[in-house]
Every structure is written in C-alpha cells, then in structure tokens.
C-alpha cells in the first residue's frame, strides 16, 4: 500500500495515467466473485469492497479532502465511475457517502461532522434514507410520520416505505413532521436515527425482481435525542431539497446506463446480431445518448465541485439517465428472443441476463422522485410555466 500514489500524486497525473492507475487498483482489489452482480448486493456481500475502498481512501471522490474525501474534479470523478462500470463493480451501500455526508458537510454542527463523517468513511455506520411514505411517495410534502418533542428527545411515530436496503442499515436519515399546524412544506425536520432504537421495525418488500432491496420501516414511539436534528427545526424541507439535488446527480450518473450498454453489446454478440446494420444503428444511437449524457453529467458534477448550488435543472439528469437505462434494456428484450422471458441468466453467465436487467431498470424512473415529478419540476421551476 505504501507505494500507491497519494491524493496529491493522483491529482498531478494526466487523465490517462489517472485512469490507468484507478483501473489497475480496481483490478487488483475488486473481489472477483462480486463482478456484475445480477441484483443489488446486501451489506454482508458488498462490505468487503466498501472496506477496501475505505482503506485506500477512495470511498468519497466528491467530498472535500478536509473531511476525508478525495476532492476530485468532475472529470476525474467520472473517470472513477467509468472504471468501476468497466470492471463490473457492484454499487455499495452508499447512502452515507452520497447523501448524508454532503448534507452534514453543509448543514451539520461541528460535533455532528466530527461524529458521523469518520464513521461513514470507516464503514461503521451504514445509512438508509427515510423519505417516502405510503401516501407520500412522489408527493413528499404530504408526509405524515411525526416527531413530537418530549424533554431532550423527539418521539417518532409513523411509517416509511421504499427504504432502500433498510435491512442492512444501522442508521436512517429521516424526514418527519414536527409541526402539524404548518403548511405542507413547512414544519418538516431532518433527523438522524439509529436503527437499533426501540420501536423500529423493518419489513422487507419483495420486488418484481424477487429481491428484497426495498423495505417498509415502522416507527412506534421511537425516542431520538434532539441533538440528532440536522439544521433548524421545521426547516427540513429546504435541506431535503438540497439533498435531492445530490441524489439526482447520483441517479443521473451515466454509470448505470454505461453498464447496461456494455451488457447489450455482449448480448448482441451472443445473439449474432452485433454486425447487423439494424442493430448497430440502434446501438450507436444509444451510445450517442450515453456520450451526450456524460457531457451533461460532467457539467453538473462541476457545479458541485465548485461548491455552487445545484439548480432544479438537475432533474433533467435523473430523467435522461433513467430513461436511457430503460431504453437499453428494452433493446435487450428485442434481440434476446425467447431468452428475454427467462428468469435466470443465459447459460449461467451473469452478464447475459436481459430479462432480469430489464426488470431491474423499471423502478429507476419511479424512485428518487418519479420522472413525472421531475418533469413537473422542470416545467415549473426551470421553464417557469404556470
């Protein structure tokens, strides 16, 4: 490890050297049995990779260096994404990295930063996100899970749903209603809650891919110290919106589509259509979509790196990426013939699983604020339509 370049040395490299350095390290360190997993991995499976990234100091490419991140420029963050995608690396339990970290760096108290950030980077805290509720999925502002002040604590009651990998997490960041009399988007606060608090029950939901990636989380008189509030009480909405920006930039990352496009090519080769003009034109169109998405994504990443605030137009990124991801898996079904209907990968090859990937692409346009909601946001907040 001692011979590996430090952050300064990495920064001084040209793009190509940086890329090769990242590639070599991934190839040497990524657990081979986790390549191209057919489903989202649980912590028990992907922990080993998380800890290797942590040990190398590469867990948080976008965080400032002072907080233990890599402080990389947008183009460099993209290279890291591309190399992970190229090698077929699994997504980790990364809510702490993508969402909680940036939130606390911006809005946390010095004590909160000092306590939580290192524990995210060490893998001690595994986070999940408690936003959606049964009647407030895309309509976040109507959430009903409540927190009532009682002495030094909040007492939380209610239910969250579609909580990704809540069954893996030991912390949850939660939007709760702290003032029932306020208007819809006011009176909402942001809490950090240990998942082992008495009164929390987690029920996994079986998805269409027959996997338990999402959960319901029930809160029954859960006591949460008031020091675990982030930012001002009743002003959680604006922070949640800022966080949504980070989430959207992540959901808009080209990694998912790039992964799928690679699999589409393999499938086309296996099905014998790779050299057919008809397929090749469709593939090329998808590849152009991907390359343009990368250009657009880089612009938003650059805004974050400069420390500027993301505008509502980041919603575009989420829509474009998730719909491209789906279009790629649509193309898979169209060329796979009868294999499209199979439950398992073809010929035992995880990289040839058109049906499974098609199904896994479905929720991307629903979660993280449905694409319908994103289009509403674009129309009203970006285009200023009435």
């Amino acid at each position: 490890m001692s011979t590996e370049p430090d952050l300064d040395a990495l920064e001084a490299m040209d793009d190509e050297t940086f890329r090769l350095t990242v590639r070599q390290w991934i190839e040497a360190n990524y657990p081979p049995e986790l390549r191209n997993p057919p489903k989202r991995l649980h912590w028990r499976e992907n922990r080993v990779w998380y800890m290797r990234l942590a040990a190398r100091g590469w867990l948080a490419p976008g965080w400032p260096r002072e907080h233990g991140g890599m402080g990389l420029a947008a183009a460099r963050q993209l290279i890291m994404l591309e190399e992970q995608e190229r090698h077929g690396c699994a997504r980790t339990n990364d809510h702490g990295i993508i969402l909680v970290g940036p939130l606390l760096i911006r809005y946390g108290t010095p004590e909160q930063k000092a306590f939580f950030l290192p524990r995210i980077l060490s893998g001690e805290h595994v986070w999940c996100q408690g936003y959606s509720e049964p009647n407030a999925g895309s309509d976040l502002a109507s959430l009903r899970t409540s927190a009532v002040a009682d002495g030094p604590d909040w007492v939380v009651n209610g239910q969250k749903i579609w909580t990704t990998l809540a069954n893996d997490a030991n912390w949850i960041f939660l939007l709760v209603r702290t003032d029932k009399t306020a208007k819809k988007q006011e009176g909402i606060s942001f809490l950090l809650v240990p998942m082992d608090s008495p009164g929390i029950t987690v029920r996994p939901i079986v998805n269409l891919d027959l996997h338990d990636e999402f959960c319901e989380v029930f809160f029954d008189n859960v006591r949460v110290p008031r020091t675990y509030t982030v930012g001002e009480i009743n002003r959680g909405w604006s922070m949640a919106k800022a966080l949504l920006g980070f989430e959207r930039i992540f959901l808009g990352s080209p990694k998912q589509s790039a992964y799928a496009l690679g699999r589409l090519r393999l499938l086309a080769e296996r099905m014998g259509v790779w050299d057919e003009p008809l397929f090749r034109d469709r593939y090329t169109a998808l590849r152009l979509d991907l390359e343009d998405l990368k250009c657009l994504h880089a612009r938003f990443v650059e805004i974050v790196r400069r420390g500027d605030t993301l505008g509502p137009d980041v919603s575009m990124l989420k829509v474009i990426q998730t719909e491209l991801f789906q279009k790629i898996t649509d193309a898979m079904l169209d060329i796979a013939g009868e294999h499209a209907g199979l439950l398992e990968p073809m010929e035992g090859n995880r990289e040839l699983a058109p049906g499974a990937l098609f199904i896994q692409a479905r929720p991307s346009t629903i979660y993280g604020g449905s694409n319908e909601i994103q289009r509403n946001i674009i129309a009203k907040a970006v285009l200023d339509l009435p």
């Binding site: 959606s132 009647n135 999925g137 895309s138 309509d139 109507s142 749903i161 579609w162 939901i205 079986v206 998805n207 269409l208 027959l210 999402f214 099905m271 649509d330 079904l333 169209d334 060329i335 796979a336 013939g337 009868e338 294999h339 499209a340 209907g341 199979l342 439950l343 398992e344 049906g355 098609f358 199904i359 479905r362 929720p363 346009t365 629903i366 979660y367 449905s370 694409n371 319908e372 289009r375």
Partner: protein, 348 residues
C-alpha cells in the same frame, strides 16, 4: 356460413365460458402455480379439455369442435386476461396434427402432448438438426412447460414423431421463466418414437395468432387495472388520473390496444376466409401485439409507481407474462422481417 350475428353470439358464448376458468381479477390460483415444477394444474387442464378447447380447430369428423379462428382468438384473449397457465396453445398445435387414438387421448385430457420444434431463439421454422422416425435424436429448446408434458410431438428432419416424456433417452432441463412457468431444453438420445403424418406449419401459424390474442388479453387486463388505479389513487390532493400527462399516456396505450384488437381480429378473419395474405396478416398481428403488450405492461408499472414494483401487487404478473409471450412464436422484429419478406413477394 354463419351470419355476423351468429358469429357474434358464438364468440360471446366462448368468452363467457372462458371466464369460468379464467376468473378476471382473481390471481390466487395463478400465484400458487408460479415456479412450481409443471407450472400448471392438471385438474384445470381436464376442465379445459372438458370444454373442448384443445380441439377447437379440429374438424368435427375427427372429434373436434371445428370452430373458426375468430373463436380461437376470442378464447385466447380471455385466457390471456386471466393469465391462465395451462398449455392450451401447445396442445392445440398437437391436436391440429394428430388423429385417431392419439388425438382422442389428447382431447380427453389423458395425455398432454407438447410440440418440440425449435432449436434456437428467434426462429419461426422447424429446426432440422434433430432427426425423427422410429427413434428421435437431437435437442429442442424453448419447449413450453416441457416438465408438464406426457408426450412430445417432435418435429425435425424426417417429419414428426411422438416421444413419451418418460421414455429412455429423453432428458428435460427446466429453465424457469419470468411468468412462473418454464421452458424445457429437451434432449433426445436414440429415444423410441412413433412417426406421425402431417406438417406443423399451419398449426404454428394459428398458434402465433393465438399468442397475439393472448397478449391482447394480457394488455387489456393490465390496462384495466391501471385505469382503476388512476381513478382511485390520490396524490397532491387529487386523483392521479386527473393529471393530464397521465391521461394522455393512458390515451396512447388505449390506441395501441385498439390497433392490436383490429389487427388480431382481421388476421383471424383472413385465416377463416382462406386468404393467401393470411400469413402476412398473422405476422402483422403478432408484431403489433408483442410491441403493444410490452409498451402497455411497462407503462402500467410506471403509472402504478412504487407499488407496481412489488411482487405482491398483481400488475407485475402481466408484465412478466408479456415478457414471455411477446417473444414466443417470434417477437416483433422477427415478424416485421417476415412481413417485409411476404410483402416483397406480394408486390412482385
């Protein structure tokens, strides 16, 4: 010749009786069968035989009910709505070819005969790497619900032959499908076989169209469930079905369904009329149905939002069935290519 009114009445009757097996909206039976070994239920199969459906297109003289192709697609549509798992279309292919005691045993429900003709994906013709005669040798793939068959009607070099599923030299490998059924890869190693006269092709045409009709049923039911959801689910204090963007998308789906119905029924009428253009019409209907069913079921998930992605909610069952049927007997691209070829012949 029956009049239009007589035809309408006979179609109504067959739809009604089909709904007796395929209760709309009740998926308990279907869910219980998912991912089971055979993927379907033998008792229900016997009921289906008692209704005479496998012999729907068999001449009365041979013991069938000699109904029109329009009747067959009406039936298949309702079975699609109900996600019925039993292998009617495969058995109807076999019934189209078999005669005598073999046919009687099939129509009576004693023997389930599954045709095995395909040797690779995306193909419409009989694979000829398998040889059949008094022995069968070779490998067939994508054999629907193979593990539930008593006999295989194997098509290959040498014509057709019946092979018992439990005969020596027959090996069945199950590959589970998204809809809870399976395909079999069936290997014949010098398996004893009984030659059968006839050709599979006309029966495959009808099976293709029946599959299109089944897809029509699948998409209609998925759409009905989605409309119900849009009419009742509220967000932002309004029924979500009142949002114009969703209304317009629902309108688009309804147009695809209308086009599919028009195309499927026209193709059936074309077969009934013995038109030389019927093969082109079948390809057209299957191309439309495969494409429209994927579009409708995919959008149905999206319009349901998060709940649509849970396995416990029914809407996903329709997507998964569509994924299997859309590519059975040729997907949209395959039939578009066949249509283009037939159109060139026609224009020439």
């Amino acid at each position: 010749m029956t009049s239009d009114a007589d035809l309408d009445e006979s179609l109504r009757l067959i739809r009604d009786s089909a709904r007796g097996i395929a209760t709309p909206g009740d998926t308990r039976r279907i869910r219980a069968l998912r991912f089971s070994t055979t993927g379907f239920d033998r008792d229900t199969w016997c009921q289906i035989c008692a209704m005479g459906w496998p012999g729907l297109r068999v001449p009365e003289a041979a013991g069938g009910s000699e109904l029109s192709m329009r009747a067959y697609v009406a039936l298949a549509e309702v079975l699609g709505e109900g996600l019925v798992a039993e292998p009617l279309i495969p058995a109807a292919i076999a019934a189209h070819v078999l005669r005598g005691p073999g046919l009687a045993s099939l129509l009576g429900g004693e023997t389930i005969v599954i045709p095995a003709w395909q040797e690779s994906a995306n193909t419409l013709g009989v694979g000829l790497a398998t040889s059949v005669g008094t022995r069968a040798n070779g490998q067939k793939c994508f054999v629907p619900l193979a593990a539930g068959g008593d006999m295989f009607l194997v098509a290959g070099q040498g014509g057709l032959a019946l092979v018992a599923a439990d005969a020596p030299g027959v090996r069945i490998e199950r590959q589970p499908t998204q809809d809870g059924g399976h395909f079999g890869t069936v290997t014949f190693s010098d398996a004893p076989a009984e030659p059968v006269a006839g050709a599979l092709e006309p029966a495959l045409e009808e099976a293709t169209l029946a599959t299109a009709a089944m897809l029509l049923g699948v998409m209609e039911r998925a759409f009905t469930l989605t409309l119900d959801y849009l009419r009742t689910r509220e967000q932002f204090g309004r029924k979500i079905g009142s949002f114009q963007a969703l209304q317009h998308r629902a309108a688009d789906l309804s147009m695809q369904i209308a086009l599919t119905r028009a195309s499927v029924e026209a193709a059936a009428a074309s077969i009934d009329a013995g038109s030389p253009q019927s093969r082109a019409a079948v390809s057209r209907a299957k191309a439309r149905a495969s494409q429209a069913a994927m579009m409708v079921t995919r959008e149905a998930i999206q319009l349901h939002g998060g709940i649509g992605y849970t396995d416990e909610y029914d809407i996903g069952l329709y997507l998964r069935r569509a994924m299997v049927l859309a590519n059975s007997f040729g997907g949209a691209a395959t039939h578009r290519a066949r249509f283009a070829m037939l159109a060139v012949e026609e224009d020439a």
